[in-house]
């Protein structure tokens, strides 16, 4: 088949060139329109179910809402994990499905199950609903709306009724979560003293108010030839009108609402969240995109929408969309990787030209790069992948290898053409035949080498979960581009050779030796090699020692999952004691804001404290804040900057922090359900006991060197006011328990009793006692409840009002209560720290019956991924061995070529040792790639030795000549591959490069060691085993090189 392709290509050269041009144009168009994203789609099939139940205590919410939802859904098909968080008045249940589950099917299953439990939920609970489907990286932009002069209520109303609807109309936006400002509502604040005076009961007010602001239809009037609709226009937004509503008649005297209550406009209570922009009260919008949207495009559309909105907003309202923009990070990362790719390409050009010193051969080889890449992009598009830093990284790593096939082809074709030219004219063959034969000559080498590299990537496809999703596109792009380059080498390259290399001028140059540089290099190498071959034992022994050394070093290297990347935005979660009021928390965090603003490089500071209504992104309560800080490093490293922030904020007593960045924070969270690198999950039934154990574990964790940000999830009680009815006194006063409950719920908690329309804007109308009676403990005691026997009595007379405590947040996983102790790693490696931690905990902590500990976090993924990669690498190596055996038909030769692997390992490990100091998943992939490249060098050498042996040269002669012959292509391919990676290595800390750079470092190091050692060690070993091998292979390989 290959033969046919080659033959067809050479026969239809014009068609091939036209096809290539067509592919190039199509590829270019595809590039222009491809979805660009920062990472591959990492969204796990997960659905969040949110239930609001205003005012209910966490224990009640857990018992009456969270638990029924969890148990109903836990048994659903393909459910991997059920997690939940219950806070005051709110329940969130996450259902994580198996990877690969269709999200729409998952939502359908949940939807069906939810309809079953609806009836079991308490009346007060709102209907549970599924959070909009959106990817992990869904939060694409944060927008702060602030003003020097406008009231927070005006801001919030503008956001809710002008800005949010416009943003939701942007194609691709799935949800806008708003936090901050004052949420406007119409309030009826009852004065119990006045109610007592006018003998008005709570029931009187509720009855009168429920229908007071509704328009009614009065049928139709047909008169004067027209049809009139009759309407009762009771709706009003005028406070005076609303206040004039009749409540009851006291004899002949009417009592109106204004006489017993204040009808006013106020901020919704209780306030669950606040937001600040540079220390000023503001409204912050988090815009979520739909799972499949193109972040960059949606962001551009949002920007356009905001620009339009700004025209209609009051001049003093500022809309700032620079707080966090995923698209900026995407653009920077993609640009950085693209630049690394282009710079790598430039290096390749330079090296090729240096070695070939021939414009035409350089061009032919180089053309392979863009053509292969464009073909890759088309295929990637067809496979349904997006362009992201990972797929671009795959191309960046491959770029040095893409020319290899072409170089090998061009070299051999040129050589054969020159040989042909030297023959007498009558014996010369037509150029096309020469090109064909030469290409056929190396086709199997090209194919085997490519196959081997592809095989080395097998382990990548065994990675599951998020790491698989993250790295798979890299592998796929790499493989596709290599295959593309192989096809190019079999089609376009021979065609171009046949067109460009047949001129007399080209062929007049000497056959052997190449340019001055190459000749000099070859001479030096052959001298050195022949001298070194006399010291075989040293040549073999020293690398062996190095290898042993490398293995020893390897055992000391730590491992991490993914390298840290710089997103340009710092996400600080600051947490104070649970139960602290929003006001106090604001006071504390103002200090944080002030400190942050003083740090060099901080562009602005936005803070969200508490939570937004109906948001899946739930913190504990008003004690937790999320602070987003866009920054410039200004010459510092990311670590240095983080350290500076840590030190400054550490000076504020009463807050603890978790430092992260928007995307890494979410990736951490996806891995374990907890955001830190290490999550120790303690399961058990009693919250108090869990907290005791947690504190114990936390204290132990702090003693483990290398662990920072150790945090024990707070499970201390938060204050509660318990109003315990005194049934005897209630009975004496003729108050039923239902009335008592209603009083606590409505009079103290507040009840939405209707709606008020201002044009199209709709605001809730709530009914409750005046603030004096529900915002102060004394007030609650004095609040008057309707008695049937004597007017009204103070609440404290019929109940015990006590200050008490209850849990703040109840977290559960797989229907078990859990408490998480989390920690991050600093300056050490994940696995060893984790092992140390586990042993310390096992030794020191004794768990009561029913309690158990699970470890999660990045290390969990890292260790499982590492294990998989190691096992599958062994599989890959055996497949490589098989391929080599097919090529050489000899176990010894196949083994000899595999000697390159340890040689490559030496440099790879050394590079890791010098650089990061720990092995990450990308570094492992670097090793994989390295094995492929190194093996190929081995094949090139050995096949040449065999061929020279075949031609009758002695073993030693064939080694020296063969090695010198192959020096050129080996060095050329190695240096092109290495230099192509250099930009990734040198700009390792640029956003987007962080993940590929450990890979590049390993490949670079390994290439250096394997190339250098390969050129001496393989000849030395071959000298030892050569004769035996040569004899055997003569029988098999006479037709090969």
């Amino acid at each position: 088949m290959l033969q046919a392709i080659l033959k067809y290509s050479l026969k239809n050269r014009l068609i091939i060139i036209l096809v290539v041009i067509a592919i190039s144009i199509f590829g270019w168009l595809t590039v222009k329109n491809l979805e660009v994203d920062v990472f591959p789609d990492l969204t796990a099939p997960s659905v969040a179910i949110l239930t609001e139940c205003p005012g209910m205590a966490p224990e009640d919410v857990e018992r009456q809402i969270t638990f029924p939802i969890e148990t109903t859904l836990n048994g659903a098909r393909d459910v991997r994990r059920v997690r939940s968080t219950t806070v005051n008045g709110f329940s969130i249940v996450w259902i994580d499905f198996d990877w690969g589950m269709d999200i729409y099917k998952a939502r359908q299953i949940i939807s069906e199950k939810l309809s079953l439990i609806q009836e079991d939920l308490p009346q007060r609970a709102h209907t549970p609903f599924m959070a909009p489907q959106s990817s992990v990286m869904g939060e694409i932009i944060l927008i702060a709306v602030h003003s020097e002069t406008q009231d927070p209520m005006v801001l919030r109303t503008l956001v809710d009724w002008e800005i949010t609807p416009r943003l939701l109309a942007v194609n691709g936006v799935s949800q806008v979560v708003t936090i901050g400002g004052d949420y406007k509502e119409y309030q009826i604040l009852l004065d119990p003293l006045k109610m007592a005076h006018f003998q008005v009961s709570l029931q009187d007010v509720r009855q009168a108010c429920e229908t007071m602001n509704q328009n009614t239809a009065g049928g139709i009037l047909n008169e004067f030839g027209q049809e009139y609709v009759i309407r009762g226009m009771a709706q009003s937004a005028n406070l005076q009108d609303l206040g004039s509503t009749l409540l009851k008649m006291n004899g002949p005297a009417p009592v109106i609402l204004n006489q017993v209550a204040q009808v006013t406009i106020g901020s919704h209570l209780p306030k669950v969240g606040e937001s600040y922009f540079n220390g000023q009260r503001s409204v912050i919008l988090t815009i979520m995109k739909q799972a499949s949207g193109n972040t960059v495009e949606i962001t551009a559309d949002i920007e356009k929408a905001i620009a339009e909105l700004k025209l209609s907003l009051p001049a003093d309202v500022i809309v700032n969309d620079q707080v966090f923009r995923q698209s900026d990070f995407i653009k920077t990362s993609v640009n950085n990787v693209t630049r690394a790719l282009i710079e790598g390409g430039v290096f390749v050009v330079l090296i090729l030209f240096l070695f070939l010193m021939n414009g035409r051969t350089t061009i032919i080889s180089l053309i392979a790069i863009p053509v292969s890449l464009l073909i890759t992009i088309i295929i990637i598009k067809l496979l349904g992948y997006s362009i992201n830093t990972m797929s671009l990284g795959g191309m960046a790593i491959a770029i040095g290898l893409l020319v290899d096939d072409a170089i090998i082809d061009v070299e051999i074709v040129l050589k054969r053409l020159k040989e042909n030219r030297l023959k007498p004219i009558e014996k010369r063959k037509p150029s096309l035949n020469i090109v064909y034969e030469a290409s056929m000559e190396i086709r199997s080498s090209i194919i085997h080498a490519t196959l081997i590299i592809i095989v080395t990537f097998i382990p990548l496809f065994f990675l599951s979960g998020m790491e698989g999703r993250m790295l798979m596109p890299l592998g796929i792009t790499f493989i596709v581009s290599l295959l593309a380059s192989m096809i190019v080498a079999l089609t376009l390259t021979p065609v171009l050779c046949s067109l460009l290399l047949i001129s007399e001028k080209q062929l007049r140059r000497p056959v052997e030796g190449g340019n001055f540089l190459v000749r000099r290099l070859n001479r030096r190498y052959s001298d050195l090699l022949s001298r070194l071959l006399s010291y075989k034992k040293w040549v073999i022994g020293i690398p062996l020692l190095l290898f042993v050394g490398a293995i020893i070093v390897l055992t000391t290297l730590g491992s991490t999952f993914l390298p840290k990347f710089n997103e340009g935005v710092l996400t600080i979660t600051s947490v104070s004691t649970p139960g602290i009021s929003l006001e106090e928390c604001n006071l504390l965090n103002q200090q944080v804001e002030n400190k942050l603003k003083e740090i060099d490089g901080v562009k602005l500071v936005t803070r969200r404290t508490g939570r937004a209504e109906n948001s899946e992104h739930a913190h504990g309560g008003s004690n937790a804040s999320e602070i987003d800080v866009p920054f410039d490093l200004n010459g510092r490293t990311l670590e240095e900057f983080f350290e500076e922030v840590r030190t400054e904020l550490g000076k504020i007593a009463g807050l603890s922090y978790v430092f992260g960045q928007p995307l890494s924070h979410r990736i951490d969270h996806m891995l374990s359900g907890t955001r830190a690198q290490i999550a120790i999950k303690i399961f058990g039934p009693e919250l108090g006991k869990l907290y005791d154990l947690g504190t114990q574990v936390g204290a132990l964790a702090k003693t483990v060197p290398g662990l920072v940000d150790v945090n024990v999830e707070q499970q201390i009680d938060v204050p509660q006011i318990k109003i315990i009815p005194n049934r005897t006194l209630l009975a004496q006063n003729g108050i039923s328990l239902a009335e008592f409950n209603e009083f606590v719920r409505v009079a103290l908690g507040g009840e939405k009793i209707g709606e008020v329309y201002e044009g199209n804007r709709r605001f809730a109308m709530t009914l409750r006692l005046d603030g004096k009676y529900h915002l102060e403990l004394e007030g609650i005691k004095n609040a008057l409840i309707d008695s049937r026997t004597q007017g009204k009595v103070p609440l404290s007379l019929v109940s015990d009002i006590v200050s008490s405590g209850g849990p703040v947040t109840i977290n559960r996983e797989n229907v078990q209560r859990k408490l998480v102790v989390s920690a991050n790693i600093s300056g050490s490696d994940l696995t060893s720290v984790e092992a140390e931690l586990e042993s310390v905990i096992a030794r020191e902590v004794s768990l009561p019956q029913g309690y158990f500990i699970e470890y999660g976090g990045q290390f969990e993924s890292a260790s499982s991924a590492t294990r998989k990669i190691l096992w599958t690498s062994l599989l890959a190596i055996s497949i490589i061995f098989m391929i080599l055996f097919i090529e050489f038909k000899q176990v010894e030769l196949a083994g000899l070529i595999l000697v390159n692997l340890p040689l490559a390992l030496i440099g790879g490990i050394a590079a890791v040792w010098i650089s990061a100091g720990s092995i990450s998943i990308p570094a492992l992939i670097g090793f994989i790639t390295l094995f492929g490249i190194a093996t190929r060098n081995g094949i090139l050498l050995i096949s040449r030795y065999l061929s020279l042996n075949d031609q009758g040269l002695s073993i030693r002669e064939s080694i020296i000549k063969g090695s010198t012959d192959r020096l050129n292509p080996i060095l050329m391919t190695a240096i092109t591959a290495a230099l192509a990676l250099l930009p990734l290595v040198l700009k390792a800390d640029r956003p987007g490069n962080e993940i590929q750079s450990p890979m590049a470092v390993v490949i670079l190091g390994g290439l250096i060691s394997s190339t250098l050692l390969n050129l001496f060690v393989i000849p030395a070993i071959y000298l030892l085993v050569g004769q035996r091998v040569a004899n055997k292979s003569k029988k098999h390989l006479h037709h090969e090189l």
Partner: protein
């Protein structure tokens, strides 16, 4: 070949360099030094807190002083701070400390000879000067002589933290405390100022003024109603008048006859006198009715000037004799009836005055301003309202009888009490605590028992002593600083 080796080495080097700067530099952490000697003195609305090494003769020790303005609990922004050590026989020389940053001065000094000394600080800024004196400091000649001082264990809260937040301290002093019991009530007219207008006869009523509606102001003597007789009923005005005339005519005839008979001495003088008396009665009754009959009905005039508060009849309606036509309330004295919830019954007997706010009027009035006084404290529960009634008498100037009023009943002021502001209290599980300052930067969490509150201040029954310094603002900051929070499992 050499070139390539060099090239590779260079590459290797570059790679290494790239990562070399990944090592993070150790953070410069400003530790708060543990000092051996601390001096904490208040003067002129300022607080100085200085820490230094122990005073061992001849040794050089470092000093760090914090200077706070108590009014807003802010660090001094400028100025100079000097100090000296005075010993018997030596005044010591002033030594100026360096201004490190707002509120903080540092320096070092050589400790003079052993003995008892006094440390004096002088702070000057612009033209003001403040002096702080700490007496009885002991300088030892050898370290070994240092007595193990009793170290006060307290909750730390650094001044630098306090300056950054809203903070304040206050010395406990004897105060007068009065409770204010919030309750509802009504402004009502006093019984002696209310006049009832009843119909003296049955008949048809005629309203004599067009503006006679509830709330109208009426001057004394104004004709309000006329009751006209008509043909029905026994109590009819006409019947009465005619009956009276008949009785009058009859008695007149009897009197005339008896007069003649007396002249004849046919009747006794006594009988004549009786007849004269009957005549006089009948005459006066008849005349009384004839007066009213002048306008063809009985006229009812306002006996006082005041407001018509009740009107129970309509024009031309028939009224029986004695029917309550309306009420006029004389302008002037009113009553305020407070309805105190039973839950505050124990305080009821201590009530001596009140503040009040009339419905629809934001102004708060005092009892004094209304020349009012306490009339009675009802020691019973009104079965209709379930409240304890307490009555006050007021002038009534500007007040509207019948309206609702929000009241604050003031209890008798008690003197020499310990009173703390609400902002100084921390509540946990029904127990109250305050933070007592035990050093410049250390505090003690002290449980206190609350006796009463007036909404703004709390009367402390036990737990605090006069002279102690408590945190009056920012108590929560100390509580939070000493209870580290940790992130709850936060989720997306």
């Amino acid at each position: 070949m050499k070139h390539f080796i060099r090239l590779f080495l260079l590459l290797g080097f570059l790679t290494a360099c790239q990562y070399a700067n990944h090592e993070s530099s150790p953070a410069t952490h400003e530790d708060h030094e543990e000092e051996a000697l601390s001096i904490h003195v208040f003067a002129d609305g300022m607080e100085i807190f200085a820490e230094s090494g122990q005073l061992v003769a001849g040794e050089e020790v470092a000093m760090r002083a914090h200077l706070t303005i108590l009014e807003n609990y802010a660090p001094v922004a400028s100025g100079t701070l000097s100090f000296r050590l005075r010993q018997s026989g030596s005044e010591g020389s002033w030594q100026e400390l360096d201004f490190l940053k707002a509120g903080i001065f540092t320096g070092s000094f050589v400790v003079p000879k052993a003995g008892i000394c006094q440390m004096e600080f002088k702070y000057s800024d612009l033209d003001q000067e403040h002096v702080f004196i700490k007496d009885s400091l002991r300088i030892v000649s050898l370290k070994e002589e240092l007595l193990a001082e009793e170290h006060q264990e307290g909750l730390p809260f650094l001044l630098e933290q306090a300056w950054e937040t809203e903070f304040g301290i206050q010395r406990i002093e004897n105060q007068t405390f009065s409770q204010a019991l919030n309750c509802g009530g009504a402004i009502i007219a006093s019984p002696e100022s209310t006049y009832e207008l009843s119909s003296p006869v049955s008949g048809q009523i005629q309203i004599e003024r067009n503006d006679l509606v509830i709330g109208a102001y009426i001057t004394r003597g104004t004709l309000l109603f006329t009751v006209k007789g008509s043909g029905f009923g026994n109590e009819n005005l006409d019947v009465l008048a005619h009956t009276a005339k008949a009785v009058y005519d009859n008695s007149k005839t009897i009197l005339e006859r008896k007069s003649q008979l007396r002249a004849l001495e046919a009747v006794s003088q006594k009988e004549l006198e009786q007849a004269r008396a009957d005549f006089e009665i009948a005459k006066s009754q008849y005349e009384a009715l004839t007066d009213h009959l002048a306008g063809q009905g009985v006229q009812i005039k306002s006996p006082v000037s005041g407001y018509l508060t009740e009107l129970n009849t309509t024009a031309n309606g028939f009224v029986e004799r004695g029917f309550l036509l309306g009420k006029i309330v004389r302008q002037g004295e009113l009553l305020i009836q407070a309805n105190l919830p039973v839950s505050k019954a124990k305080d009821a007997n201590n009530v001596h005055s009140l503040y009040f706010k009339q419905m629809g009027d934001p102004a708060i009035h005092t009892l004094e301003e209304q020349n009012g006084s306490l009339i009675s404290i009802g020691n019973f529960v009104n079965p209709l309202t379930g409240m304890i009634p307490i009555l006050f008498k007021v002038d009534g100037q500007g007040l509207t009888p019948g309206s609702f009023a929000e009241l604050w009943l003031l209890t008798n002021p008690t003197e020499d009490q310990i009173v703390v502001p609400k902002s100084s209290l921390i509540e946990e599980y029904g127990l109250f605590y305050v933070y007592v300052q035990i050093g410049g930067e250390s505090y003690e969490k002290r449980a206190v028992k609350i006796a009463a509150t007036n909404g703004r201040d709390y009367l402390i029954e036990s737990g605090l002593e006069i002279g102690e310094v408590i945190v009056s603002k920012g108590a929560m900051a100390i509580k939070i600083a000493n209870a580290m929070g940790t992130p709850p499992a936060h989720v997306h």
